[in-house]
Symmetry: C2
Subunit: 389 residues, 2 copies
């Protein structure tokens, strides 16, 4: 499912250079700069920011790095690391999923401004990967139960050709990526540092494998180190680029809950897995479900049914109906009033069942035809019927 990225570009060199500058000059999210770029286009906007010729709020967002940001160097460093800058002018730009960020910002949701561009390292097309995708996220401090479920969900999504987006953190995120890779699918990691920054150290080999057939994606220029606020800012991209977010395991205070909250604010589907009521690692999931912020899911079929876009319906849970379920209320009472080993007269059955004897006389032969009763020398007997399974 990996997608070649040739012929995906459409931006001019000057547009890309301007975007590289704009992306580096303000710490994301930068709503005023975004608006300024929307009004003037990236090339003019970059020139004006560089010259200090812009509104007060834009000046403020860009003041600290106005003169130090060198876009050419960033683009060169990216190319050296096998990465590229994808900008809104490119075919590869995931415009449709990211529209949710613009809409939410317009609706007054804070801190969810769309990115000015995205650094991408990997062979997958970002637009194609985000066309139908599910985020699978969770806490770094995960239990075996959580890791197992994240692996399984990642794997099952991959085998259904649904790209798995996550945050490349230790614990649940890493397991979700690994599961997708094991299923031969595309997986995309949204980072809180540069795509050439080896973080977390324990996941460096995993990051390379993700980039092989999927993508590492970041707003941060090459060499940018991780920072706590960057993970929170990054969460809006995980939520925004996907159709729904599954929280596999999260403590009461986990970044994954933050991603879920943002996904909800963006109008995306939010899901969570339940677990033991005694597990602190499921407490965040339970709180999301209890507060009606997430739908409970227990399988990938339920995930896909909840996300809804993919035309999948979860198979009805095994209902193990009993044969007697099809009996009407009176027939059921008559059946219950029979004994398996001793015959009963219709009058006895009628009294025991509280059903008129005339109806009992009519129902008994029907029950016999359907294999629920048999008439013997001593009267009517019950034929014990077990469940179908």
């Amino acid at each position: 499912m990996s997608v070649a990225v040739e012929d995906q570009t459409a931006a001019t060199d000057s547009e890309r250079l301007a975007r590289a500058y704009l992306l580096g000059v303000a710490e994301p999210p930068a709503p005023h700069l975004l608006e300024f770029v929307g009004e003037h286009g990236p090339v003019v906007a970059a020139e004006r920011v560089q010259a200090g010729d812009c509104p007060e709020q834009v000046l403020r967002e860009t003041a600290a790095r106005r003169e130090s940001t060198i876009a050419e160097q960033d683009l060169e460093a990216a190319a050296k690391a096998g990465a590229r800058l994808v900008v809104p002018e490119d075919h590869e730009w995931p415009a449709w999923p990211l529209l949710s960020l613009a809409v939410a910002t317009g609706n007054g949701v804070k801190h969810v401004a769309a990115p000015l561009g995205l650094w991408v390292r990997g062979s997958a097309s970002l637009a194609e990967a985000a066309d139908r995708a599910v985020a699978v996220v969770g806490a770094r401090m995960a239990t075996d139960y959580g890791v197992h479920n994240a692996l399984e969900i990642g794997h099952a999504l991959a085998t259904r050709q649904v790209p798995v987006f996550s945050g490349a953190a230790l614990g649940i995120d890493a397991a979700a990526h690994r599961g997708a890779l094991s299923g031969g699918g595309v997986t995309v990691a949204l980072l809180g540092c540069a795509v050439d920054y080896s973080y977390p150290a324990g996941n460096v080999a995993l990051l390379d494998r993700i980039a092989d057939g999927g993508a590492l994606v970041s707003e941060y220029a090459p060499k940018t180190p991780p920072a706590r606020h960057r993970f929170l800012v990054r969460n809006r991209l995980i939520a925004g680029l996907t159709d729904g977010t599954v929280v596999v395991e999260a403590g009461i205070r986990s970044g994954a809950r933050n991603t879920a909250t943002i996904a909800g604010a963006l109008g995306k589907v939010v899901m969570a897995l339940p677990g033991s009521v005694h597990s602190g690692s499921s407490a965040g999931c339970h709180a999301l479900i209890r507060d009606c912020k997430a739908t409970l899911v227990t399988s990938v079929d339920e995930v896909l049914e909840t996300v809804g876009r993919f035309g999948t319906t979860a198979p009805a849970a095994e209902s193990s109906r009993r044969p007697t379920d099809n009996l009407g209320p009176e027939a059921s009472r008559v059946y219950d009033a029979l004994l398996p080993r001793a015959g009963r007269a219709p009058e006895e059955v009628a009294e025991s069942a509280g059903v008129p004897v005339s109806r009992v006389r009519a129902l008994l032969p029907e029950l016999e035809i359907d294999g629920f009763a048999v008439r013997g020398d001593t009267g009517w007997r019950q034929i014990v019927r077990t469940a179908n399974r």
Copy 2:
């Protein structure tokens, strides 16, 4: 908390005798007979049913037992077993909770007609026990996890003076009763057989203990054996007599789900405990939560908060907030841009954080006052702050 039942009676002997007859003459629920009794009062209604002088539909409900029902014998047998017949004319009748059944019937919900009377064995007053009560139910085939949780919830409700209603079945029901008993509370068992019928055999000692300080309750005359349909019919009483129903553990096809569905139809609060996504014994609970038919609960505090009537609010889940949570976005970025072991100049911090240097200069002393930063010979350093817990 056991309540003496003296001076609870208000029905006349003839009313009680008539009710004993009416309760035995039709297999519950008997909506037409109930309506007929409502119109004519129990004494006249009983006389007319016995004489066959009643509408066709009432005749039909009562035809099989019209002549065989002997109320005097039932009352005598009950007295011998230490039981009594509680009727709507008694002070002890739980009129208010049972109103939900009449309302639901009026709204077209089927098979939830109110009972014509209730056989009670035990020392608790039915009206007082049902005044504020929670049903705790679940499957007979329970896991250790489910049994443990049922015991805990039963116990915790009892210690909070909330009577625990259940169905006295093996598995979850029995554990809920046992938990309530261990907490020194009142527990009430609604039966699908007579209050003097030893069923299930494995719970006979438990039934006696329930009757000691609580009550065994049934619509079925003394000596009536259990039957499958009687358990389903009984479920409406568990749901109707309580403020809310908690499903502790239930397979996809469990009677406990039926009780939950009825509770929902009666406008009562429905709750379910989550469990492992791999446990078939939690699948029914997950389905109820997923389909928005039940609220997820993980503790008795959450149960009481959800039921809502008892003035309890679940303590906020331990939030383990970090000290840095109170920092504004810019201060947070400045904090992140500091290093614990090496000093940085405000200009470096400004560029790294993407915050104007003038703001950085203002924020650093504030961070110092609050214990987040310190100024040293080589510049500003971060003071690492861990979570409060």
